[in-house]
């Protein structure tokens, strides 16, 4: 089983202040910490587990600048065999269909059975690249997968639906699965793996190397345009409880008891 796993480097903005930069089409990311996108981390683990159970290879694929190399090396340390990074400033990350086109160009001439992506990116949240990639490759897919069973050239994918229900679909390989968080327990990279990862191949490619022209994947040829970013006004009706942490806790406790909340 030869698997490609697509990964993205994203900022952790869960507790960070986010400011729109002067272009109004990006944010000031100078103070963010970056790491592998959460769902992609689960996809890497799933790919490695499939390899451990069935043999084969895991190739890590990423679109992005050199900053992503450390993240890619970590995926190699966890069990990836080799990696490709497509580094080209002309790639338009505001259009997931164009990103899918770039990834497809990197994969389509290779031997593969399975392509895994995270189902969701923590930064843009498009939830579109994996399924668009399947269409570009002309192969079937299943989105939001939280359990994978591979057997006899087919895969049973458990898709997460709303309300805790899932559906099981059977798909012929090769196929693309977009992986949901919680599907497995992502491992930490072992020290030995980290050392070995330094020696594994990490190819860096340009759009020209993939035989795609700038016209196919640039902002000009995109069918959508990001006009501007802005910080939404949060209309909160909340009563903000002030003071030192302990005072806040005491005031809240009093409100809960006297206000009949509990």
């Amino acid at each position: 089983m030869n698997t490609f796993v697509c990964v993205k480097r994203v900022p952790d903005t869960s507790e960070a202040e986010v400011k729109v930069d002067a272009t109004e089409k990006d944010v000031d990311s100078s103070k963010f910490s970056f790491d592998i996108n959460d769902a992609d981390n689960y996809a890497v683990e799933e790919a490695v587990q499939i390899k451990e159970a069935q043999g084969g290879t895991v190739q890590v694929l990423c679109c992005g600048p050199q900053d992503a190399d450390m993240m890619i090396r970590m995926a190699l340390a966890k069990g990836g065999d080799s990696a490709m990074r497509i580094d080209d400033p002309r790639i338009n990350f505001s259009d997931p269909l164009q990103v899918a086109k770039v990834l497809a160009a990197a994969i389509k001439e290779q031997e593969y059975d399975l392509v895994l992506t995270g189902c969701w990116a923590d930064d843009d949240g498009f939830m579109a690249v994996g399924v668009a990639l399947a269409e570009e490759l002309g192969i079937p897919h299943a989105a939001m997968v939280k359990k994978v069973e591979v057997e006899d050239g087919k895969v049973k994918a458990h898709r997460e639906l709303e309300g805790g229900i899932s559906e099981v679909v059977e798909i012929t390989l090769p196929a693309v699965l977009t992986i949901q968080t919680g599907i497995n327990e992502p491992r930490y990279a072992p020290i030995r793996g980290i050392r070995q990862a330094q020696k594994k191949e990490l190819k860096v490619l340009k759009l020209d190397d993939l035989g795609i022209s700038e016209e196919e994947v640039s902002e000009d040829s995109s069918l959508i345009e990001l006009k501007r970013f802005y910080i939404p006004e949060v209309e909160s009706k909340a009563e903000i409880i002030e003071g030192e942490p302990e005072e806040k806790a005491e005031k809240l406790a009093e409100k809960m008891v006297k206000g009949g909340l509990i």
Binding site: E135, G164, E170, L226, K227, E239, P245
Partner: protein
Amino acid sequence: MSNIFVLVEHRQGELRDITLEMLTKASQLAEKTGGETVALLLGNGVDSHAEKLTGYSDKVLYMDDPLFEDYNSEKYQKALVAFFKEQKPYLVMMGHTAQGVDLAPALAVELKMPFVTDVIDLEYVDDKLQPLRQYYGGKVNAEFSFKGEPPYLVTFREATLEVPEPFKSGKVEKIDSPLKEDIDYRKFLEYIEAEVGDVDITQSEILVAVGRGVKEEKNMAMIEELASAIKADICASRAATDAGWLPHDRQVGTSGKTVKPKLYIAIGISGAFQHLAGMKGAKTIIAINKDPEAPIFAEADYAIIDDLFKVVPKLTEKLQELRG
């Protein structure tokens, strides 16, 4: 060329609310484009769904075919590609749901449709559509525009609009299914129902909810003490169940449970829209989070913006004292 099409979402015999939410938006837009709303329904034995939808759409078109018994992206895509060769809508809306995200991107690629996902609002200004979506977990709004020719395609976020009462009396038309035969490269096998756990959080009066901010499983002891002091049940955001601190049946949100307790105390939860959709019906919401920009505060009645590890133990202590 000015009609707004909505792909009807239904599962296991039930129309899903997102369909009606989208038809509300579609109706507002159609007034501006001068077109009609069209609910497009694919299914098997769905006459009653079609009938019900006339209350929400100018037109209901439906394909009734045993091949549509259960949703299958490949069959839907084939049918829609054939259908959109005949019909030329201005805009097609699908839910940003497990179904929509599984179908829409592939359809957009095949038909080269200008496509924006997870849209929270759509304005029609100067004869142009402006889809609005979010980045960075809701901390940034992003205005998009479409280039190129219609039909345009969006997936629309669930629970953004209220589920409406019927507001139209439209016409139903049954149309032929373009599918000639079944496919074998993707097959629906079965549904697996939600896990049933020891506590049904949909019935809980008081819920203490934990999220990523709780950081480690060992910190759950602190949460359990608080919950026990006020006789609350404990539930979680996705991050906490993914990490294995609590079983999946305690997850609140679109992929988990929808809860409506009297009191919901969100601890270390930033408030991704999927989570908010599952808890905003709570009567009173208390949020404790150190990030002042956390979207959870937009839903809260009481907010403590501070380090939960300093606040929660003291809160428990004071509650124990006050309650004797």
